[in-house]
């Protein structure tokens, strides 16, 4: 019986985004000017990727383990030790892995994950030291409050700002959507923290009564990617909408992005969540995807191998089974191309490697790390 429900659950999302897929299949075929090679395979729902300075990679598996990929692509069999125990169920598990900007000196690694139990869980952020290919001195520096039940919508993506603070995205837990507008809750927010989890004095709501001081932006559903554009000096995030209403947003401190008061999406049942697609005081998205593509990871491409993609966003899509190339414009963003559809994979993450190649994580029990290189060596 339990197995029956697992099968139904696994097919649920794809059923609701079928119309989106149909739209994508009608897109013009891409004239491939890249080649895709498998770096590593056999990963259990790989979720995020970080590049170590020595050419190796760290990959989180949603099922709770951190794996090390050698520079030659060999996946080390034994998971990295010292990783905090995650609550693993549904969408819950181990999430992002990010190295500190000064990793070569500090050896600091940040891991986000679902912590707690089915009845009381939250998004947690831990910091550890990378020592002898393991995490040591691991401490939890942040736990979102209040706890929630269920195993959906954790956000849990992480980005460093130039001032060495970090911004962590937090989902709405699905059943708690109204809490995204509650300034006294971390649910449905982004938070800005120092590395040790303390609150920066210049956070937008420090000293505001009734507002948690960590809050950086409000009104998010399930932000599944966040990147800082150092050249454009802007923070970009996207979030997974309901049935429609996937968004790319320009995050600015103290602003409210509207969920669930404003959205272009409907509930999965077809019901209206809100009658409003926009309202004064709420930030409109740079780009809206209706129907949904189910966006996951995202990278702002800066590299030498694909000069035609320079400064553009690459957005991984799960149900859409493409990577969307998005051009940022003056007052918005434009989805210009869908890539890698020929691989027929759900994409969990997309990253720009230090070598300028694009790295993809495929979402499956036998997930892969793929490297995208130009078809002709440059």
């Amino acid at each position: 019986m339990t197995r029956f429900f697992q099968i139904v659950r696994s097919h649920f999302w794809s059923g609701f985004t079928l119309s989106g897929c149909a739209l994508l299949f009608s897109a013009a075929a891409h004239a491939a000017d890249y080649r895709v090679e498998t770096v590593a395979e056999g990963l259990s729902h790989p979720w995020s990727l970080a590049f170590l300075p020595d050419g190796r990679m760290l990959v989180t598996e949603r099922t709770g383990t951190l794996r090390l990929i050698e520079a030659d692509g060999q996946l080390r069999e034994t998971p990295v030790s010292g990783v905090p125990e995650a609550f693993v169920s549904g969408q819950a598990g181990l999430k992002d892995v990010v190295l500190a900007p000064d990793f070569e000196d500090s050896r600091e690694v940040f891991i986000s994950y679902a912590c707690g139990t089915r009845r009381a869980n939250a998004t947690c952020l831990a910091r550890g030291q990378w020592q002898d290919d393991a995490l040591a001195q691991v401490e939890v520096v942040f736990r979102a409050s209040p706890d929630k039940t269920g195993d959906a919508h954790y956000g849990a993506r992480l980005a460093f700002l130039p001032d060495d603070t970090l911004v962590l995205t937090l989902g709405d837990g699905f059943d708690y959507r109204e809490a995204a507008q509650d300034p006294g809750s971390h649910i449905g927010k982004t938070v800005r923290l120092h590395r040790d989890g303390s609150v920066p004095e210049d956070n937008p709501f420090v000293g505001h009564e009734g507002v948690l001081p960590e809050v950086y932006t409000l009104g998010h559903r399930n932000p599944q990617a966040i990147v800082y554009d150092s050249e454009g000096e802007r923070l970009l995030a996207h979030e997974h909408g309901p049935r429609g209403g996937d968004e790319i947003n320009l995050l600015e401190p103290g602003k409210n992005y509207g969920w669930p008061l404003v959205t272009h999406g409907k509930d999965y049942t077809g019901a209206r969540i809100t009658p409003f697609e926009s309202l004064p005081g709420f930030e409109p998205p740079l780009l809206d995807w209706t129907p949904s593509i189910a966006p996951a990871g995202m990278t702002l491409y800066r590299g030498k191998l694909f000069p035609q993609w320079e400064g553009q966003l690459l957005v991984a899509a799960l149900a859409g089974m493409r990577v969307h190339r998005v051009v940022l414009e003056r007052d918005g963003a434009r989805d210009v191309e869908q890539l890698f559809g020929e691989l027929n994979e759900r994409f969990r993450d997309v990253r720009t490697g230090p070598d300028g190649a694009v790295y993809l994580l495929t979402d499956s029990p036998q997930g892969r790390v793929l490297r995208v290189m130009p078809a002709i060596e440059r």
Partner: protein, 160 residues
């Protein structure tokens, strides 16, 4: 069961599902809109009702399917239970209404177990909303039983 009775039962079942799913759609819209209004947004009456009507089209079909699956076994059980009870219209209607309410409650629980999200229908996230939505199942059971009662009171046509 005669063909006539069977075809009438099917018709009454369809009418019961229709009435129940329309009421359920209206109820869930009120809960969702009340949550939006509680967040501080002003929802003018015209927008309130147009959203309610839109949900009948958007949410209604899925809920009707769910209601049909819920009412079918629930009404059969109610009919069996009524065989063991003393005769009486009020008691019979109550049993069918209760069966409809319990049936749709069971459907909510099964849907939540099968779907990846914790709660499929947002209005049923709390006790008040769940009880209110169970009213729609109760209406379905009541309509089905009441239509059958009225049918039996009509003069039966017999050939000369």
């Amino acid at each position: 069961m005669s063909l006539r009775l069977m075809s009438r039962s099917v018709l009454y079942f369809v009418l019961a599902v229709l009435a129940a799913s329309l009421l359920g759609s209206v109820i869930q819209s009120q809960f969702n809109l009340a949550q939006i209004a509680a967040l501080g947004a002003e929802v003018p009456p015209a927008l309130w009702w147009s959203t309610t009507l839109e949900d009948m089209v958007g949410f209604g079909p899925l809920y009707a399917a769910m209601m049909a699956v819920a009412l079918l076994p629930a009404l059969l059980v109610a009919a069996l239970v009524c065989r063991w009870l003393p005769p009486g219209e009020a008691l019979r209607l109550t049993v069918f209404a209760a069966a409809g309410a319990v049936g749709i409650f069971a459907a909510f629980q099964l849907a939540n177990m099968a779907a990846p999200m914790p709660t499929l229908i947002a209005a049923t996230r709390g006790l008040g909303g769940t009880l209110a939505m169970m009213l729609s199942g109760a209406l379905g059971g009541w309509v089905f039983a009441r239509l059958h009662s009225l049918d039996q009171r009509l003069p039966q046509h017999t050939p000369a």
